[in-house]
């Protein structure tokens, strides 16, 4: 994967081969600038790779048109962002319902499904609250609901615990761990928060745009190659 930089081009990813499996929570870890966010963007269809092939759930993203990729993202991928990115003037249920609303599901039906999911995530009493009325952990749970409401096969998470304290972070990772138990779903987390490594079924280490190691976390949270 290359990015333009003036008259030059910077290669961010170098010949990366990566398989992400269903029914597991995978983590991409590495120092800042190692290319893990770029990898996440490519796998989630928000960025088009400059070379190579990208196959997600049997679909070649690198060969899709822009409109097809948008539709694929909307229906098959759930997103959790570092800064939550909730719409401040929409309630928790309305925020969580966003993928359904964008896909044309009727407003009432979409917010009902979202509210039900929020209840499962422990936010049943907060469905009508605005984001500013929720704590950071609660907001991230709304974001998780938004990522899961349309039953996607792939959930991508960019530093989901970066803005949370340890307790909230553990709670959020617990929910993602539960979501990854679905045999028809893969959860991919990009992080450099070593407090949550223990939640991973598989850790992929990256450095300078290359995968340098893979393994399972040890009992003390470190990766075993």
């Amino acid at each position: 994967m290359e990015f333009p930089n003036g008259s030059e081009r910077i290669r961010v990813l170098h010949g990366v081969d990566l398989d992400i499996g269903y029914g597991a929570l995978s983590m991409l870890v590495g120092p800042s600038g190692c290319g893990k966010t770029t990898m996440l963007s490519i796998l989630s269809g928000t960025l088009r790779a400059t070379s190579g092939s990208v196959e997600v759930m049997g679909q070649r993203l690198d060969k899709m048109s822009d409109s097809a990729r948008v539709k694929f993202r909307r229906r098959s991928i759930g997103f959790i962002f570092q800064q939550y990115n909730l719409i401040p003037t929409l309630s928790a249920a309305e925020n969580a319902a966003m993928p359904l609303i964008a896909d044309g599901v009727a407003w009432g039906q979409a917010t009902k499904r979202a509210a039900d999911l929020l209840a499962q995530l422990g936010l049943g009493a907060h469905t009508n609250r605005l984001p500013r009325q929720l704590s950071g952990g609660q907001q991230q749970r709304v974001a998780i609901a938004r990522a899961l409401v349309h039953a996607p096969a792939l959930v991508v998470c960019d530093e989901p615990t970066a803005a949370l304290d340890a307790e909230a972070g553990q709670a959020v990772m617990g929910l993602l761990d539960d979501a990854s138990a679905d045999p028809h779903r893969a959860v991919l987390v990009v992080t450099h928060d070593d407090r949550i490594f223990s939640f991973a079924d598989r850790i992929v280490r990256m450095e300078d745009g290359r995968v340098i190691g893979e393994g399972h976390p040890t009992s003390n949270g470190e990766s075993r190659s």
């Binding site: 928000t46 991928i77 800064q83 909730l86 003037t89």
Partner: protein, 381 residues
């Protein structure tokens, strides 16, 4: 529809910008439509002296006369020559001149003195026509325009029966009528033609205009042409001479410039407020809109959202502004200085089109940044 609801909630949730947009557009609309309505009303005042004379199809005058308030009398003999032109059904004299009216208690008012044909009374306004025709028949009887009575009798006294002097000649107010407002704003006094010319200063010629009507089968335009050809005078159909009164105001006063400036200011206010506020709104929601794009909202949906937001505030703001102008004009109906001003459908349609263009244009300019935004940017913190 769901994304439009999202757009609406995003917009109304930011109350400062929401109300800022609505009231900014309302103010701009009020400014534009109110000024345009007053401007058109003022221009109409230039045409009203002609429009107030409903029966005349053709106005005949000295060739040098450009508008109704311009005095250049013609010979009385011209009346008979015009009556002899083939195609003339009737032709009557019409005096229109400036005069001074002195009330019994010494008050002085400049008036427009109108002398109407003794027999037909053609030239009297339509309002209270029968009563005015009866009232004006008396010797030295004058009928006043009730809209401008306050300028003649500021103390509000009963005018009927009051004596006065016009050009130092005694007259008696015998009735009231209602003229269309004219540009000079002076009170109008109507008398029989014979009485009117008797009290105007002695001149060789006193006849201001001849009003003519064509026989069936002859168009007013054709009659005007024949009169000009026969007499050498200027003959214009009613509509053209009325337009000349309007044109005189446009060409010889600063009204078009000053009103044009106010209207232009309204347009500028609308553009600046709408474009700036929408741009700020988009900028503050850029991350959220980027997140929406990431989760699968299409560019078409984003565009629809922003255009919908613009049209929504545009509709509300425009409605408020137009309502304000209508209320202003309604209040002004009882004020002589504002009488006759109304909002034409062309002003409503034109300003609506302008506002719609401004809000949609602002939306398209503001949203461009979101449309070209890479959805992956939301991952970059």
């Amino acid at each position: 529809m769901g994304m439009l609801m999202v757009a609406l909630k995003m917009l109304t949730g930011d109350k400062v910008k929401y109300f800022g947009l609505i009231f900014g557009i309302a103010f701009a609309t009020l400014l534009m439509t109110q000024q345009m309505s007053i401007f058109i009303g003022l221009l109409t005042w230039g045409a009203n002296p002609v429009l107030d004379v409903r029966e005349a199809q053709v106005w005949v005058m000295d060739p040098r006369v450009k508008q109704p308030d311009q005095g250049q009398p013609i010979s009385d003999q011209m009346l008979y020559r015009i009556r002899s032109v083939d195609g003339v059904e009737w032709a009557v004299p019409y005096l229109r001149t400036a005069a001074n009216l002195k009330t019994a208690d010494g008050g002085l008012a400049a008036v427009t003195l109108i002398g109407v044909d003794n027999q037909s009374m053609i030239g009297l306004p339509l309002a209270n026509r029968a009563e005015a025709m009866q009232a004006i028949r008396g010797r030295n009887a004058v009928v006043l325009d009730k809209n401008t009575l306050g300028l003649v009798f500021p103390d509000g006294r009963e005018p009927i029966g009051a004596t006065a002097e016009i050009n130092d000649n005694r007259v008696v107010v015998r009735g009231l009528t209602q003229s269309l407002t004219n540009f000079s704003g002076l009170p109008t006094a109507y008398m029989k033609y014979s009485d009117a010319i008797a009290i105007t200063p002695p001149e060789r010629n006193k006849l201001s205009f001849v009003l003519a009507h064509a026989v069936d089968g002859v168009s007013p335009q054709e009659l005007a042409r024949r009169i000009t050809e026969t007499t050498g005078l200027k003959a214009q159909v009613r509509e053209d001479f009325a337009a000349a009164g309007t044109q005189f105001i446009i060409e010889n006063t600063g009204i078009p410039i000053s009103f044009g400036a106010a209207i232009g200011l309204g347009v500028l206010v609308a553009i600046i407020i709408t474009a700036l506020t929408l741009a700020m709104f988009i900028q503050e929601n850029l991350k959220n809109l980027g997140a929406l794009k990431a989760i699968g909202v299409t560019n078409g949906q984003v565009l629809s959202m922003v255009v919908f937001q613009s049209l929504y505030v545009g509709f509300l703001g425009y409605g408020l502004g137009i309502g304000g102008t209508a209320f202003f004009l309604y209040l002004g109906q009882s004020t002589p200085a504002l009488m006759g001003f109304k909002m034409l459908w062309q002003v409503i349609a034109g300003s609506a089109t302008l506002i719609a263009t401004i809000v949609i244009g602002s939306a398209l300019v503001s949203v461009r940044r979101v449309l070209v935004m890479d959805p992956a940017v939301v991952f970059r913190g």
